[in-house]
């Protein structure tokens, strides 16, 4: 009932959630029940790939929330994604226990390698899943809150804000590259064994992660939709289109921006936490400024300020990326750049804008 209400008038969202629901039911069945080699069999590799795409789609939804509705062009959202990923990665590292190469029950391999004799204080607690899960939300949320409070209060906006978000993620990347930081340096965290006692290599766990990603995307989508359907959504659009007008009718623009930005960073953190066990590694490369820019391209290609457009854009481009980087690796970056230029010029409302136009004229 609640879901129906939230999606009233949101055709794209209805279709999207319907498709996700079908996937959640069908993919596990087609993977586990249909024998390998059968035409309908979905290999585990594909399941994990789809799960990975869904987490990236959730990241895109988070970016659309701040860029599409609030007009903040964030070029640093991958930082929140990576921080969520690191929080999960730290838990997974602790789960390895004494099965690492060095067999040290107290320290992860890279710490043994660096001749450390004790766990740094900020690693404590990460052997508990609930604590790691909390950190997945809190660390990106807190960073976004502090960063946003400073930036929005001093009324940094537009290009300047984009540049400092970019600087934020770049600074974090450089910091995480350092071995002394205690996050595995250049190599990051990897060689995970199990999650909550389930073997990460097994088909069942991988399907579980896929289902969790799909459910997280659905819930994240619903949360954003409910927020944007309400008065907050209209205030956001008001701030996006005429910030000073909003201020002169009495809205504290910086608080609105700060609240939405923080929620969005937490969503990105959840996406990162689900991404890491599926790809099996998290390293400072995830903080790369390029990653954040790519997310913005997904949203632009899918269609801004629609939420489902972000999902479509993320899925289409990431599928294309997987295909091109395997078949024609040298073409990929040109294809991505070309796609962005074409969409900006010809489809200002993105791919989903095509469908909406058809709907409007019919």
């Amino acid at each position: 009932m609640f879901i129906m209400n939230a999606l009233k008038g949101d055709r794209g969202g209805q279709i999207l959630l319907g498709v996700l629901l079908v996937l959640v039911i069908a993919v596990p069945l087609l993977n586990l029940m249909v024998p390998a080699g059968h035409a309908l069999h979905v290999p585990t590799y594909t399941v994990t790939l789809m799960g990975k795409y869904l987490t990236l789609a959730l990241l895109a939804v988070a970016v659309d929330l701040v860029w599409g509705y609030l007009g903040i062009l964030t070029l640093g959202h991958a930082a929140f994604f990576a921080l969520g990923g690191y929080a999960m990665g730290m838990y997974l590292m602790r789960q390895i226990g004494d099965r690492g190469v060095y067999g040290n029950p107290d320290l992860p391999d890279f710490m043994v390698f660096l001749n450390w004799d004790a766990l740094p204080w900020f690693w404590s607690g990460f052997d508990q899943f609930w604590f790691a899960a909390l950190m997945v939300l809190l660390v990106p949320g807190l960073l976004a809150f502090v960063f946003g409070a400073l930036a929005f209060r001093s009324r940094v906006s537009g290009v300047y804000l984009s540049i400092i978000t970019q600087a934020l993620t770049y600074a974090l990347m450089l910091a995480f590259f350092r071995n002394e930081m205690g996050f595995g340096g250049n190599n990051g965290l990897t060689d995970f064994k199990e999650l909550l006692g389930f073997d990460l290599q097994s088909d069942q766990t991988r399907i579980g992660l896929f289902v969790a990603s799909a459910v997280a995307l659905m819930l994240g989508y619903l949360l954003c939709r409910v927020l944007m359907n309400g008065r907050l959504g209209r205030v956001c659009v008001a701030v996006r289109d005429a910030e000073s007008r909003a201020r002169f009718i009495g809205y504290r623009v910086e608080n609105v921006k700060l609240g939405v930005f923080t929620v969005s960073a937490m969503l990105a953190g959840i996406a990162g936490a689900l991404y890491v066990p599926q790809v099996g590694i998290i390293n400072p490369g995830e903080f790369s400024p390029l990653n954040s820019i790519e997310v913005v391209v997904w949203v632009a290609v899918g269609g801004r300020a629609t939420l489902y457009g972000a999902v479509v854009g993320a899925l289409v481009i990431n599928y294309a990326k997987t295909y091109f980087t395997a078949e024609l690796p040298e073409v990929w970056l040109f294809a991505l750049g070309g796609l962005f230029v074409l969409v900006t010029l010809l489809l200002p409302r993105g791919l989903t804008g095509l469908l909406r136009r058809k709907e409007a004229s019919a």
């Binding site: 008065r231 907050l232 209209r234 996006r240 005429a242 007008r245 201020r247 002169f248 009718i249 608080n255």
Partner: protein
């Protein structure tokens, strides 16, 4: 406040504390019948004195027209009142008790000052009704934005304002598709939704037809009384129409008040004629 005065007030049966008075913005103390005090205000930008020792008083419920040549400091004055610009010196009080220089834009708006920009600024992507609803007076905290629902009384007020600005039939239209004049009205309507005590209106008839101008004048005159209205305008016919015979007109020149009086007095003032017509 002195202890003795507080004590006296407590013993005085007739004394009504400002916070006991009804209506929105009840903390405004207009016991001296003056709503806005600007005293000795100066501000300069890069050495240019935009406002130079400006003194201006607006009475409660009055309609005041402010005229002046380009660069006289009219818009800067509005920026100071609404908190966008901080003056170098001087004081600005709203009623007896609210120091405007200590507040920022949202706080001033919530204290009861509404401002209409020179260029009509509405939320183009939202419908007329949504524009009005967003401007509705009320708590602007993040949580109440998320959870608030319209009450019946608020709905009535919204309908009344939509009628007043002549956009009742365009309620569901996107504000971006309105004509220039309609946008000007919508913006005035948005101010009214805030139930302000003081309306600052910057060039409301720029780009309007004569008919629209007449209707705007009617609207602004009807608002005076319940609200105080300050209109900054270039168009002399419009100002003459608004000021009528006995309303006060203030002439600004080089950042300070050059003359003040009825339209007739002002027009016959030698200094004003000089400024407008040259030596």
């Amino acid at each position: 406040m002195k202890v003795a005065t507080v004590f006296e007030q407590m013993l005085d049966r007739e004394h009504v504390y400002p916070f006991m008075q009804g209506g929105p913005h009840r903390n405004i103390d207009v016991s001296h019948n003056v709503l806005l005090y600007l005293e000795g205000i100066s501000v300069s930008f890069d050495g240019f004195r935009a406002i130079n020792d400006l003194n201006l008083y607006i009475n409660d419920g009055e309609l005041r027209c402010i005229i002046g040549p380009n660069g006289a400091g009219k818009t800067t004055m509005m920026d100071i009142i609404t908190g966008k610009t901080t003056p170098d010196s001087g004081s600005a009080w709203f009623g007896q008790s609210i120091n405007l220089l200590a507040l920022d834009e949202p706080a001033i708006a919530q204290a009861g000052i509404g401002r209409k920009f020179q260029k009509p600024t509405v939320f183009e992507f939202l419908s007329v009704v949504e524009n009005l609803e967003l401007s509705m007076e009320g708590d602007r905290g993040l949580w109440s934005i998320i959870s608030s629902k319209l009450t019946g009384e608020q709905r009535d007020h919204l309908d009344k304002v939509a009628d007043m600005i002549g956009l009742a039939e365009q309620r569901a239209l996107r504000a971006g598709s309105l004509s220039h004049g309609q946008k000007q009205w919508l913006e005035i309507g948005m101010l009214l939704m805030q139930r302000p005590r003081l309306l600052l209106v910057d060039e409301p008839v720029a780009g309007m037809t004569h008919q629209e101008m007449d209707r705007t004048a009617e609207l602004l005159i009807s608002l005076a009384g319940e609200h105080s209205v300050v209109v900054v305008e270039h168009d002399m016919d419009f100002v003459r129409n608004l000021a009528g015979r006995d309303r006060t007109v203030t002439v600004l020149h080089q950042g300070s008040v050059l003359a003040e009086g009825t339209m007739e007095q002002v027009q016959n003032n030698r200094k004003v004629v000089e400024v407008y017509l040259g030596e």
